[in-house]
Symmetry: C2
Subunit: 247 residues, 2 copies
Amino acid sequence: MRGIVAFYLTYMLCLILGIICVALVVHWNYSYRGGFAWDSSAKHFNWHPVFMVTGMVVLYGNAAIVYRIPLTWGHNKLPWKLLHAGLLLFSFILSVIGLCAVFDYHNANHISNLYSLHSWVGICTTALFTAQWVMGFTAFLLPCTPMSARAFMKPTHVWMGGIILVLSIVSCISGINEKLFFALKGNTNGTLPYSALPPEAITANSLGVIIVAFGLVVLKILSSQIWQRPEPGYEVGVYQPLGYDGS
Amino acid sequence: MRGIVAFYLTYMLCLILGIICVALVVHWNYSYRGGFAWDSSAKHFNWHPVFMVTGMVVLYGNAAIVYRIPLTWGHNKLPWKLLHAGLLLFSFILSVIGLCAVFDYHNANHISNLYSLHSWVGICTTALFTAQWVMGFTAFLLPCTPMSARAFMKPTHVWMGGIILVLSIVSCISGINEKLFFALKGNTNGTLPYSALPPEAITANSLGVIIVAFGLVVLKILSSQIWQRPEPGYEVGVYQPLGYDGS
């Protein structure tokens, strides 16, 4: 019982930090970077951090911990599998839109793509996420996949899930840091440089810190043995194929 | 037996990646950034990446997995505890020298300290590492600490150990990315900007990728249940106080 109370307190913290992440990344780009548009201007780029943080961090993190919610235990696992896969698909779509935003902006403005370390890590993260989703769907939702393959795949799937979140956080922090150095150069009009920590720098740095905190809370939930979904017998619930009624 | 062969192959990979990390960070700063000095010039700053990557990533990662090496199993745990604590103390000292390098360079050149997101995450990582080492020493090496406190502390100590490595990697990637944007601006003398991916950019980006790969291998070793040190009975070996002879 104490474990369940502790879980829900941690889960609440996760939800609150996730909401703050989304609010802060929107606030930063809306209030300080000029807002949003899909017109190849700087406003076009602003969708990039919003979609990546919302998709690859907040939605991804929440989707990863669906099975840890005690409310979902003791029921047929299939609806929760579909929710897990569906939220991750939505997270993937948001990430792809976020990538389109930066590629479109770069291409329209003759800026090179994929040269920074941020972009190298980021594109590898998205590629791993794609592979993870396809392998997860194939292994755990296709009815034809044998149980032995599911059992073999599960530890790798869980481990990769955590690693992709870590890489997303690495990408976000390096990206926010890079953007602030680009944007806050200071000039003769009295605009303060990044080094003077103007309000925009405090806002975006705080976003970075909250992203890290959110990630750590999700990793804590994922790694705690006592918060694992209890599986009956030979984990029938885990490996049941799509269409299996759970009985 | 298969588990042990797989461990040593993974451990070899970890050692090789660690050596490449140190070689690449030295090569980058020696061959492209002008080398090293402790004279408040740009060469003074160059110690920062070298000491942080060597201390907070490579040495830290190797120290974290000492107990996973099967060669150390079945013996008195105390020498390995002292090796674990000693390597981490050395790693901490290197990190402090690395921090001194950047603070000294900034102060001598009237550059602000601790304004970038990289520096915020980095300084929090070092603070957590300090707290972790002090708590680890107090809990697991001081003879007066009761067994119950050791048992209570161990999961947190192990989890925090992994998280500090994750934060170190976040700090390194954002720092390398930042440094390359500072250093590779391109100019009329024909120097190529970061966006043209000159050899220095390829070298330092590759360093970043190898750091991430090293971190993932260490996290894999830490998280694998089959590679945990087997503890007899009520894990006497884990919680034995300093001076306990293991019998």
